[in-house]
Symmetry: C2
Subunit: 359 residues, 2 copies
């Protein structure tokens, strides 16, 4: 098994709990029956509660990774008659732009930097939009936007508000009703700390009303919704991950609910950041999620060299960046089954690394 | 856990081996590195060898269920300038027809019954086709087509030959070179006996040459192929199932190779069929795969009543049919970790059922 004895701080897959891994070891059951429908219903209820979805909201369970969630939302809810304001602050914002381009959806590629968009009203190009699309946490750089402020902007301008919450759900607050969010996209292998392969789209009634007929079987939301009424999916679901999701939602509840999960992630993230302040590393953005810390060396060292050293000499996996950023930043996830003792492994390794590698 | 102590004979998910389930219990590792690329390469090599793919063939790994494999193949390889001959002998043939309709691919809906298409040349509507599409094993009724005969027909007429092998790989023979097959679609939760969520598309060079630009990110084969060169996928793969696939391919090899797996499935299927001949059940088709036996009551009993009785009184899951067929047939899978002792549980239950339910 690859990397069995590694300590991992990658933003997906993340460290899983023993309880959830144990479910992965069980025989996958047959699913076209009432017993599995109950699993689906339980997952839907748990997710809707977690994001405080408005009455009448529905969840679509896609056997797919997160990009399929992003793309299917654009395919089902937007047309050539829309005009989408796409927040583009990195790789995942760029992916939404690419999705709009691919599906001929008119859009503004709103490139942002050094802002969490609290003042979106002033910053956004002054055009009329039908839709606002954002990755709540732009995972490529660990930057978090102000969901509330964007929600107020969306409400005021009466536009559909689509939030990719893939890398912040469970660790950072999201409230569909408070923030006027119409669509939430989530994925299994981030804060939910399950294996990758399950993506969820949460649709408020405002979004449900916009679903159209599309030229696709696999991403056809209408089919998912009609099958969902009896707790089923049109095609084979990721049965094992669904069972793990059910167990995980129960676990979150047992541990004190979503607010406790968020508080715990915040505590761990703060603990990590507080304990590396003396090292020649600076945080990349002031708008950090609890989910992740992005660090940049201040002493001229290569970020990639640090990533490689941690892997080789300490059996620790943090996440490098690609392209031009590979020497500039690296990322440390706080998602999943984290505690201070686990985080100490990385803190200690970083201190040790800098003791050895004094320039 | 639902149905933990049930004996299952459903055609997906199927009974898994302890060895494979144990991999499912492990921490999902980070995958954007060379170690995971090696896993991908091993899976690709193993699959290509299993189907005797021609030199230069490639495998696309989709985080998705089987229908995504079927749909993405049509999207990437066919256009409005094609004319596809779609073999439609049941629900899954019908799905290919629906996919062609959805994506505006001209096609002939070739409805077949009571034939394995050994004489396809004589039976097929006499038109010019660019493509032949077939579900090797039409799982909705347990009917197997003659892959060789269709391959000869495809070769003679110089048409692309696409085989959905989802419900027969590992239990029934498939040889891309011998049968002139250009595309094979496979899925994790059938003969490969892994959890659902991974679908594989095997493309011979003849198929690779036909891949076009399409309006899709998630199903864009060109992206998968370019990422595949370094053992990666454009979007997060089903990491855990990929690791289970690697282990499963090694297991098949260790047990004597694919021919031994097929021989074993054939032995189990034959054993089952031979031991229920005295019961008022007849096999639904003479063209049965090793993967499955479809049975029809001859004494007027309802197939669904038998399915329900087996579940309720014997904790055995066989597979009911839907719609008009629900009283006529039920299905018994022989895929996965089957042996005679396991099969005896169903054989004994059926005999017991008929002893109790004499009319």
């Amino acid at each position: 098994m690859i990397y069995k004895d590694y300590t991992i701080f990658t933003p997906g897959p993340v460290k899983m709990s023993e309880e959830i891994m144990a479910v992965g070891a069980m025989q996958t059951p047959y699913f076209r029956n009432c017993d599995f429908s109950e699993v689906t219903y339980a997952c839907e209820r748990g997710l809707l509660e977690m994001v405080n979805a408005p009455q009448g909201s529905k969840v679509i369970f896609l056997t797919a990774s997160g990009t399929a969630g992003m793309e299917s939302v654009v395919m089902n809810l937007l047309t050539k008659d829309d005009h989408a304001l796409v927040i583009n602050g990195g790789g995942f914002g760029g992916r939404f732009v690419q999705i709009c381009q691919t599906h001929d959806v008119p859009h503004a590629d709103f490139k942002v930097k050094n802002t969490n968009l609290t003042d979106i009203e002033a910053l956004a190009p002054n055009e009329a939009y039908s839709t606002l699309i954002v990755n709540a946490h732009e995972t490529s750089v660990g930057h978090m936007y102000n969901l509330d402020a964007m929600g107020m902007y969306a409400k005021k301008n009466k536009i559909l508000y689509i939030v990719d919450a893939i890398s912040m759900l469970v660790t950072d607050p999201l409230d569909m009703q408070d923030s006027n969010i119409d669509v939430v996209i989530a994925s299994s292998q981030k804060g939910l700390a399950l294996p990758p392969g399950l993506t969820m789209v949460i649709l408020a009634p405002t979004a449900l009303a916009k679903i159209q007929e599309i030229k696709s079987l696999y991403f056809n939301f209408k089919d998912y919704l009609s099958n969902g009424e009896r707790g089923q999916t049109p095609y084979t679901p990721a049965v094992t991950i669904m069972l793990q999701l059910e167990a995980r939602l129960e676990q979150i509840k047992r541990r004190g609910g979503i607010s406790q999960s968020i508080a715990s992630a915040k505590e761990i993230a703060t603990y990590f950041r507080d304990n590396i302040t003396k090292l020649p590393l600076k945080t990349y953005t002031p708008f950090m999620p609890n989910a992740m810390t992005t660090l940049s060396p201040t002493d001229g060292k290569s970020a990639m060299a640090i990533v490689n050293d941690l892997e080789k000499n300490y059996k620790i996996m943090v996440c490098p960046n690609g392209g031009a950023e590979c020497d500039i930043i690296f990322r440390v996830s706080h998602m999943g089954e984290m505690d201070k003792a686990y985080t100490d492994i990385l803190i200690d390794a970083l201190h040790d690394y800098y003791k050895i590698n004094r320039d």
